[in-house]
């Protein structure tokens, strides 16, 4: 017997060869960090694209009367704005964060199915290009609202709707593949010692989000396929003339659509649960109650869909059930808010940029939550339904909630990702500029909504003029703030003060304790120790 050892001890162990060079690196990559970066850039591009449509909407609504665009084009803008922001900006941004963070938070070398990860990303640019191209086709882009209710999306829709259907299928396939990958990674690839109840809350919230995606995506796929067969193959799923039921479309859509709201907010809870303890310099209060609250919210999200349909008409017993079930969601959500506040209680708090965005999230998401409670009360919803109050509500949830958490996540983890600290002064300017603007933009919409201004209209009565003008000014300022954010992002990537491995004094977790900033291209080729 003899032993043959031909390796050079100085070579190998900690040598990181890094990524391939050139454009093809990004096309063929299976590295979770590369794919996370691609997702985040796609989300940013979509944010600016969807935001530019919001600018057109606010420009038209700056004054009563028709000023800039035709009503049909206005409807295209509201529809595309909603679709692009939901499926193109918020969801891909969270998937990007999951790609970057889940493996390095659980001590895994990469995602469980790296090639599928590449496919799930690269489907998306094609889907969104196809969706965007409908704007330039005969008939124009979809104009039936992001909820694409039948028969507007079937009997009365333009031919371009088929491209929309195909694009939605592609987005769904991408989401499902992403969800499968995240589930397989979290279940199978945690480092030794990383039990489920030791996982960072961001990982927990993503595990539950992935489960929600798995549960509801077939419903969306079924809905758009039935739309397609109603349009072209003689079926009558949603056509009353053929024995179908257009109201069923709304049930199908909202069975998907309401959990979708939680798909867009649960990972935000995970982000905030990482940031608050770091800058309060205290462990998260009530970790296990946070996990159970997240699971409870996810379960309840399946049982409340018809609160979007109170005005459609349903038995009183149905209204009562959906009203109480909806209001019940405020209990686990309240647990979360109380836990964040309690984490900060008597903490040694500092207010760096990520903390400011996280605090902004807590305050303004709670405003969105309270207006949601108001909308959940069936008799009251009869007045609020389809008014600007609803627009104000879901923008407080999705902009000052989901988007704020994504921006907070960027400022919190970008020193880890790039090895460069962002410019603190610019970050704070970005926060205050955005926060003032977003409230000028959306808060007056509560008032015009309560006064009866309907949503999805390009013209309105004179009494709404002042609040709409104020809202538009806020909109332009908020849009400009995000262009400023683009400058901060590029500046941070290109250089800046060197970040330490821990980045923040109070930061904990494998990504801060076990990896340098930036982490090597292949991190955790060996399982890290888990405390």
């Amino acid at each position: 017997m003899y032993t043959e050892t031909t390796h050079d001890a100085a070579h190998g162990e900690h040598h990181d060869h890094g990524p391939a060079k050139g454009l093809m690196r990004w096309v063929t990559t299976t590295n979770h960090k590369d794919i996370g970066t691609l997702y985040l850039w796609l989300a940013f591009i979509m944010l600016l694209y969807g935001g530019s449509m919001a600018m057109i909407i606010r420009l038209e609504l700056f004054q009563p009367g028709l000023q800039w665009v035709e009503p049909h084009f206005f409807n295209q803008m509201t529809t595309m704005h909603g679709l692009v922001m939901v499926f193109g900006a918020i969801m891909p941004a969270f998937v990007g964060l999951a790609n970057w963070l889940v493996p390095i938070m659980i001590g895994a070398p990469d995602m469980a199915l790296p090639r599928m990860n590449n496919w799930s990303f690269w489907i998306l640019p094609f889907a969104f290009t196809m969706l965007a191209s409908t704007t330039f086709m005969e008939g124009g882009a979809p104009a039936f609202g992001w909820t694409f209710y039948a028969p507007l999306s079937t009997t009365f829709a333009p031919d371009t709707t088929d491209f929309f259907i195909f694009a939605v299928h592609l987005m769904g396939i991408s989401s499902v593949m992403g969800a499968i990958n995240i589930i397989a990674t979290i279940l199978n690839m945690r480092a030794p010692g990383m039990t489920l109840m030791k996982m960072p809350l961001f990982v927990w919230t993503w595990l539950i989000t992935a489960y929600l995606l798995i549960a509801v995506m077939p419903v969306l796929a079924g809905a758009v396929t039935m739309m397609l067969t109603d349009r072209h193959f003689g079926t009558s799923f949603f056509d009353a003339a053929g024995g179908g039921d257009p109201v069923m479309f709304q049930h199908v859509f909202w069975f998907f659509g309401h959990p979708e709201v939680y798909i867009m907010i649960l990972p935000a809870f995970g982000v905030i649960s990482a940031i608050i303890p770091t800058f309060a310099r205290k462990p998260l209060f009530g970790y296990s109650s946070m996990v159970y609250a997240t699971a409870s919210i996810a379960i309840l999200s399946f049982m409340v869909w018809a609160h979007h349909m109170f005005t459609v008409g349903m038995p009183v017993a149905g209204e009562l059930y959906f009203m109480y079930a909806t209001i019940l969601i405020s209990v686990p959500t309240g647990v979360k808010v109380f836990n964040w506040v309690t984490t900060m209680w008597k903490g040694s708090m500092t207010f760096e940029t990520p903390m400011l965005w996280a605090l902004g999230f807590i305050v303004m998401f709670t405003i969105g939550g309270f207006s949601g409670l108001m909308l959940g009360v069936a008799p009251v919803d009869t007045q609020y339904h389809d008014t600007y109050f609803v627009v104000a509500h879901f923008h407080y949830v999705l902009v000052t909630g989901a988007l704020y958490s994504i921006i907070a996540a960027f400022y919190y983890w970008v020193p880890k990702w790039t090895g460069h600290m962002y410019d603190e002064k610019l970050g704070k300017i970005h926060f205050w500029w955005s926060t003032i603007a977003v409230n000028v933009l959306f808060f007056p919409q509560h008032f015009v909504g309560l006064a009866g201004m309907p949503r999805r209209i390009p013209d309105y009565s004179l009494q709404f003029a002042e609040f709409n003008a104020i809202s538009s000014i806020g909109g332009f300022a908020f849009g400009l703030a995000q262009v400023f954010f683009l400058y901060i992002v590029i500046k941070t990537i290109r250089g800046g003060e060197k970040a330490t491995a821990q980045v923040w004094e109070g930061a904990t977790g494998l990504e801060f304790e076990q990896l340098p900033s930036p982490p090597p291209y292949h991190s955790f080729t060996e399982a890290p120790p888990v405390r």
Partner: protein, 159 residues
């Protein structure tokens, strides 16, 4: 993960190698079945309302999830068993059953520890005789391979 046990009084050793896995097969199957139950229940609910086109997508998705979990578990549930006795060294590989096996004469066995080609920083550890060699512990980290190489040498000396 490397486990070593002494098999019998003659001084045979068995080394069992397996990748890190954070969930048992039973738990994974239970998770999958529960997910199928939820997805199929949703599909059936809409089928009963006449919206049967949800159900095929539920089925397809469960197929995709099952395939994804199966492929991942194939990677993490595999085992490599190296049995050393004074005469023979046996290497067996497989998932839940022996899929491949090799046998060498222990006195002639050598341990090969070499860098891989190209950009891969992970090393290759193999057991071989003359021109034939079988890679072992390809899923192990370099530090674990160091420990395994040391233990293999130690076992070979002892037997």
């Amino acid at each position: 993960m490397v486990n070593i046990s002494k098999v019998d009084s003659r001084g045979s050793y068995r080394i069992v190698l397996s990748p890190n896995c954070s969930i048992s097969w039973r738990e994974l199957v239970l998770f999958y079945l529960f997910t199928c139950l939820v997805a199929i229940a949703v599909g059936l609910f809409f089928t009963l309302q006449g919206m049967w086109m949800v159900l095929p997508f539920s089925g397809l998705e469960m197929l995709a999830l099952g395939t994804g979990l199966y492929l991942t578990s194939r990677k993490v549930y595999r085992k490599e068993v190296i049995t050393l006795d004074p005469d023979r060294t046996r290497i067996e590989k497989g998932v839940q059953r022996v899929a491949q096996s090799w046998e060498f004469k222990t006195p002639w066995v050598r341990i090969i520890d070499e860098p891989r080609d190209g950009r891969n920083s992970r090393r290759r550890l193999a057991i071989g005789v003359h021109g034939a060699a079988v890679e072992v512990g390809s899923f192990l980290a370099n530090s674990e391979k160091d420990a395994l190489a040391f233990q293999l040498k130690d076992c070979i000396i002892r037997v």
